[in-house]
């Protein structure tokens, strides 16, 4: 049992360690972008209505890949800068549900039509999930 626990700790440690350079890179980039771009830039990019903002957020989240931790950090920074929660929620949800990078592997193993349909539906749902989540939060 202790051997299995040690193996689990090793596996988890490896996963965290492999995440560190990307995490550090993302944090460094956020710091850099924050010091170079004025806050008004983000507000201009996400300046439309909730639906347009969620489309932009979902679109960006679909392109990026990697640990969801990175999406939380970027999302919380955007939130601090005044970007709406709908756009950020769509961004976070699309980040984890739409896998453009994994699409080739998913297509080969599970079928191209299935992979395309699933990813397209996931993108559409990222917007629906964002709108619905914020709607419920506003009721609470």
């Amino acid at each position: 049992m202790s051997n299995k626990l040690l193996l689990s700790a090793k596996k988890s440690g490896k996963a965290i360690f492999s995440l560190l350079p990307i995490l550090l890179g993302i944090i460094l980039l956020i710091g850099l972008v924050n010091s170079l771009l004025p806050e008004s830039y983000y507000l201009k990019l996400f300046g439309g209505n909730s639906l347009v903002n969620s489309l932009i957020g979902g679109g960006l989240g679909s392109i990026f890949a990697g640990s969801p931790i990175n999406s939380y950090i970027i999302g919380s920074k955007l939130l601090e800068l005044g970007v709406g929660l709908v756009a950020i929620t769509a961004f976070i949800v699309a980040w984890v549900t739409v896998g453009l990078i994994q699409l080739p592997a998913e297509s080969i193993l599970l079928g191209r039509k299935f992979a395309l349909t699933r990813n397209l539906l996931s993108f559409i749902f990222s917007i629906g999930v964002a709108l619905f989540t914020v709607f419920i939060l506003n009721l609470l």
Partner: protein, 168 residues
């Protein structure tokens, strides 16, 4: 791409970011100072949460394996299968490509595409990362988003199941 190339991607990425810093540092030294201050602030706030993430990962890695998950998933039938796909997706750990062969096996054993879609959607609900999400967005956001995503995963599964044999 080989496994070692893949594991080095993070370091390549960090190296490129450092190069960008050096490049910008030549022209805007003051911006680099501000950036590093901001970076340190974020890094400090993340560290304790990463420790918590590690602990939860050890627990889930210890108790959940692909073989054990497959055993439960293959027994799925009727309406109960949606619940099993949902729980299976939530508790499944590790990179997604590790699970594709298992899902392919399940498909060949008769599982529907809808079932697989629900499983994959719920992989987005990351139990070990919930403390991180709570830290950044609060309890209510985390709970509402998680529940909404679980419900949507079943809706997506049902839609894909309806499409199976027609479009897919």
């Amino acid at each position: 791409m080989s496994k070692s190339e893949k594991s080095n991607i993070g370091w390549y990425f960090l190296f490129i970011v450092i190069l960008i810093y050096l490049l910008i540092g030549f022209f805007r030294t003051e911006a680099i100072g501000l950036s590093l201050q901001d970076t340190w602030k974020i890094a400090k706030s993340i560290m304790p949460i990463l420790v918590l993430v590690f602990v939860v990962m050890v627990i889930t890695n210890y108790s959940i394996t692909p073989d054990r998950t497959k055993k439960y998933l293959s027994k799925a039938g009727g309406k109960k299968r949606w619940l099993i796909a949902l729980i299976g997706g939530v508790i499944s750990m590790g990179p997604i490509y590790m699970w594709y062969p298992l899902l392919k096996d399940l498909k060949e054993d008769g599982a529907s595409y809808g079932f697989i879609a629900t499983f994959l959607y719920n992989r987005a609900v990351k139990l070990p990362l919930l403390p991180m999400m709570i830290f950044y967005f609060g309890w209510s956001f985390t709970i509402v988003l998680t529940v909404v995503m679980m419900i949507v995963s079943i809706i997506q599964g049902l839609i894909i199941e309806k499409m199976e044999g027609k479009i897919i």
